[in-house]
């Protein structure tokens, strides 16, 4: 049964992708996308229902002829990249793809035949969680993209309408992500990994403007570099005869698997946009919003951290593992600090994504059972809240024609429902009792007990302070109301709003159900790998739920406060100046002025350029040390 289900999840999006490619822009295509989205989501849920309590299961699939097909596709990808690299004069991309292809082909011919294996697919609790994230959130994003992209092309007539290939790549992306989380054969894993690299490259370059093309190549360069790391890991496995199966390799522990684990973790660092590779994710903002949402929440960057967490047991307690963790911790703090200076909502979200992934990576590098527990929850909460935020910002942008946080004041009046959903998303990202904070709390506990944990404790303590600042000021901006604005929400398409509703419900649902998720999925997984498990404690779970209930009930008091009939409304204090309802007042010399309010961005303290330089320097040092640590003993031996 599970075999069919896994194949369905991997292949069905592919089928949809092909349909999107051939069907013209017609209601039929829209319905195909909607129905497929629902089916993919349902498939993931069905997987949960049928196999959440059956632990880790390996599934036999013959390597051939799948392997053959994969090899052909890998070559095709290489040719495509080669062509594009030459056409856009990007020698670096050409060089990287040549090196990578050479490594992979050498491995294929020299070693792969000797390493044939049966159990090429597997499913366990962690892959179920990932499948749910990909299936449910990914499909919702695709459905949202239907009306978003229509609107997008209305607003940007100068951009060529290539929606066919757009949806094609989106669904290929989902398919590849399913492939990653179900692959036990590392060669398969690598194949799907490369597909996501290419897919993200094509999506970022969608608009084909010069900026988009350059940023797409930036992403490609970094991910290809990571891909070379992955290829080297495969080669090492081939040379040493280490197991090619993910399960056996990880079981082998540090003695067998440390080198490939570090190389794959390196690939994971590039894919999850950790410093010094963060710039590609920031550059990816040029793409249409659903792409950002997809890259940030359910795919791509999640593939990176997935790989690192898979190898966490190997990295745990090793010096290279500590280096990985330090890269993550540094990224967490610095990216959070840089987010303070951003007024562009998407850029701010990007920095926050990088920061949160940094925390996950830090947990993965530490690799203790507590840390992995925290990391998985972080992934879940981050995926739901971040997708909601990105899509909401996309909707807002189409209505107010700006993605600047400073322009979002009064949103609670202009677009009350969307604003409320952004509020849910933001609170979900940083406030107790919502998800991200629970996980941050768990990771803090994990760090304290780890050796050398003081550094991480400090990073997380200072990082939390900073996080608080930038989220709260956005939150405040949304409910500031300088003018009596009119409600323009009616202009938003119903479909977009429904997707946002679904995601908001998910954010709240995941928070309410979090003890359940932790008990029935995360804990069995951690237990199966480490034989130990951590818990928040029942008291604390009850208190968290209590707080959530209080927050949800509190708005009811608005019924009491909301009607101001028996009260007097006072004007805002403007030093005694009379002010009109739309905030005009007579300034000095009788000049008419309008009030405008702006947030603090603390450029002088948290300047992006300055922090970025520090971050890149530190992280390059750490990454090099990490690589050196695995190379030098090999050379000496």
């Amino acid at each position: 049964m599970s075999l069919e289900l896994l194949l369905f999840l991997i292949l069905f999006p592919l089928l949809t992708a092909v349909l999107c490619l051939v069907l013209p822009d017609h209601p039929i295509r829209r319905w195909v996308i909607r129905v497929s989205g629902v089916l993919i989501g349902a498939g993931a849920v069905y997987l949960l229902v049928t196999s959440y309590d059956s632990g880790m299961r390996l599934i036999d699939v013959p390597h051939e002829p799948v392997g053959m097909i994969m090899q052909v596709i890998v070559l095709a990808i290489a040719l495509l990249v080669l062509y594009l690299g030459v056409r856009y004069r990007k020698p670096l991309a050409v060089g990287l793809i040549l090196v990578q292809t050479a490594l992979v082909q050498y491995f294929e011919f020299q070693y792969a035949p000797g390493l044939a294996m049966e159990a090429n697919l597997f499913v366990d609790e962690f892959s179920i969680i990932m499948a749910l994230i990909i299936g449910v959130i990914g499909s919702l994003i695709c459905i949202y993209a239907i009306s978003y992209m229509r609107c997008y092309h209305e607003h940007h007539p100068e951009i060529e309408d290539r929606r066919r290939s757009f949806f094609f790549i989106m669904f290929v992306f989902l398919s590849a992500m399913f492939g990653i989380v179900f692959s036990n054969n590392l060669l398969w894993f690598f194949f799907f990994w490369e597909v996501t690299t290419l897919a993200s490259f094509l999506l970022i370059g969608y608009t084909r403007t010069e900026e988009a093309t350059n940023n797409a190549f930036l992403a490609l360069h970094m991910n290809l570099l990571g891909g070379i790391g992955f290829a080297l890991a495969l080669l090492y496995i081939g040379v040493t005869g280490a197991p090619l199966g993910l399960d056996r390799l990880v079981e082998g522990g540090a003695a067998v698997a440390l080198v490939p684990a570090v190389l794959i973790a390196f690939a994971g660092l590039t894919k999850s946009a950790q410093l010094p590779f963060s710039s590609w994710l920031l550059g990816a903002m040029v793409a249409p919003t659903p792409v950002s949402a997809l890259l940030h929440s359910s795919t791509m960057v999640k593939a990176g951290v997935y790989a690192i967490i898979k190898f966490a047991p190997v990295l745990s307690g090793t010096v290279p593992g500590l280096m990985v963790a330090l890269v993550g911790g540094t990224t967490f703090f610095l990216a959070s600090a840089m987010a303070i200076t951003q007024s562009n909502a998407k850029r701010m979200l990007a920095y926050s994504t990088i920061a949160n992934l940094g925390l996950v990576v830090a947990c993965g590098g530490i690799g203790t059972y507590e840390a992995v527990w925290a990391a998985i929850l972080l992934i879940v909460f981050h995926a739901v809240a971040k997708s909601l935020l990105f899509l909401s910002v996309g909707t807002v942008e189409h209505q107010i024609h700006s993605r600047d946080i400073e322009d979002m004041d009064g949103l609670i009046v202009k677009m009350p429902r969307v604003a409320a959903m952004i509020l849910i998303g933001i609170t979900g990202m940083f406030l107790a009792p919502f998800g991200m904070l629970i996980s941050k709390w768990a990771s803090l506990r994990a760090f304290i007990d780890a050796p050398g944990g003081l550094v991480f404790v400090l990073l997380i303590a200072f990082g939390s302070g900073v996080t608080l600042f930038f989220w709260a000021k956005w939150l405040g901006r949304l409910i500031t109301r300088p003018l009596d604005e009119e409600n323009i929400e009616g202009r938003v398409k119903t479909e977009e709003i429904s997707v946002l509703f679904a995601l908001s419900a998910l954010v709240i649902g995941v928070c309410l159900l979090f003890p359940r998720i932790a008990h029935s999925l995360v804990e069995p997984y951690v237990l199966s790998i480490y034989g130990m498990v951590t818990q928040l404690g029942q008291d604390n779970e009850i208190i968290m739920i209590l707080m959530l209930a209080m927050i949800l009930v509190l708005p009811l008091t608005m019924l009491y406060f909301g009607n101001g009939r028996d009260r007097r409304k006072l004007d805002v204090y403007m030093s005694g100046r009379a002010t009109t309802p739309d905030m005009h007042f007579k300034g000095s010399a009788g000049i008419d002025r309008q009030l405008s309010l702006h947030n603090y961005y603390l450029e002088g303290y948290f300047g992006e350029g300055k922090l970025m330089r520090i971050g890149v320097a530190v992280s390059v040092l750490l990454v090099l040390t990490m690589l050196e640590l695995i190379v030098v003993p090999g050379v000496l031996a």
């Binding site: 004041d409 400090l458 997380i460 900073v466 600042f469 000021k473 500031t480 708005p555 406060f561 805002v572």
Partner: protein, 285 residues
């Protein structure tokens, strides 16, 4: 592990104690300035009066946010005195302050906005220290639960002197005392027309005052934990700490936010690293 009765007692008694402390604070402050000062019960009179005033508003939603502030600050204090998880207490406290900040944002006033941003800077400045205090308690006593930290037999202050210094430094800001009272303060200083509370009047302002009482008692509670092994010492120590804060309040001028943030972070970093590193080095040996 969690004694809810103490929590409920806190919700009822803390305003009484907090109001009294505020009254004594004002009295001592007056004496330091060579004045007689108001009656000890003055804070209660003030809040009583605020609730007698007309219930006017600037934005109807402001009361909702301020109610959230009050409820969650009481909740976090209750959790603390019930012996709950210290980190959770801190998170609830942060949540409550976010409510205050949002309330200040919601009224859309230039003064309140500056107050809100400065309140956020305060939160950002103090959050690391507060988290590190609980980490320190955990490393020293082996538990995050207030009940277990309080029951720890030895003098935690001797194990955590650096953490205590950092906490003391940050406490000045938490208690809204000069030189770090950058968002709002308890005195008749008129700077930025009292920041976050600028647009609040009557019962809304009264709720903010009560919330401050709760917070003061909670902070006293955290200070107490350092000395909890001996109640007598603890009473004296807490009183001295509070007196010292009043003294600092009266002898310093308000700092700029940049200095406030920078210096608190620096003190936090130096004092806690120096102190907590001992545990890690000791643990490895």
């Amino acid at each position: 592990m969690i004694a809810w009765l103490y929590g409920i007692a806190f919700v009822i008694l803390a305003p009484l104690l907090g109001g009294l402390v505020a009254g004594i604070d004002r009295r001592v402050t007056a004496r330091m300035q060579g004045r007689v000062g108001p009656p000890i019960l003055q804070s209660f009179y003030d809040v009583g009066k605020l609730f007698e005033k007309e219930r006017a508003y600037v934005r109807a939603s402001q009361n909702f946010y301020i109610l959230g502030y009050l409820i969650f600050i009481a909740f976090s204090g209750a959790l603390f005195f019930a012996g709950g998880d210290l980190l959770l207490v801190i998170f609830a406290l942060t949540l409550s302050h976010i409510f205050l900040v949002i309330g200040a944002y919601s009224v859309t006033s230039p003064y309140a906005l500056i107050g809100a941003e400065r309140e956020l800077i305060q939160l950002m400045a103090v959050e690391p220290m507060i988290i590190l205090v609980s980490v320190g308690f955990y490393l020293a006593s082996g538990s995050f639960y207030v009940s277990e930290i309080a029951a720890y037999g030895g003098p935690l202050i001797l194990l955590l002197p650096g953490v205590f210094i950092g906490f003391f430094y940050a406490l000045t800001m938490k208690l809204r005392k000069s030189p770090f009272d950058i968002a709002t303060c308890h005195h008749a200083h008129q700077e930025i027309v009292k920041g976050v509370t600028t647009e609040f009047s009557g019962s809304t302002l009264g709720m903010v005052e009560i919330a401050h009482w709760y917070e003061a008692v909670l902070l006293i509670g955290i200070t107490w934990l350092f000395f909890a092994w001996n109640p007598l010492v603890a009473v004296v120590a807490v009183a001295l700490v509070y007196l010292a804060e009043i003294f600092i309040d009266n002898t310093t001028a308000r700092a700029k936010w940049g200095f406030a943030l920078g210096s608190i972070w620096l003190v936090t970093l130096v004092s806690t690293v120096a102190n907590l590193a001992v545990f890690y080095i000791g643990g490895m040996a």
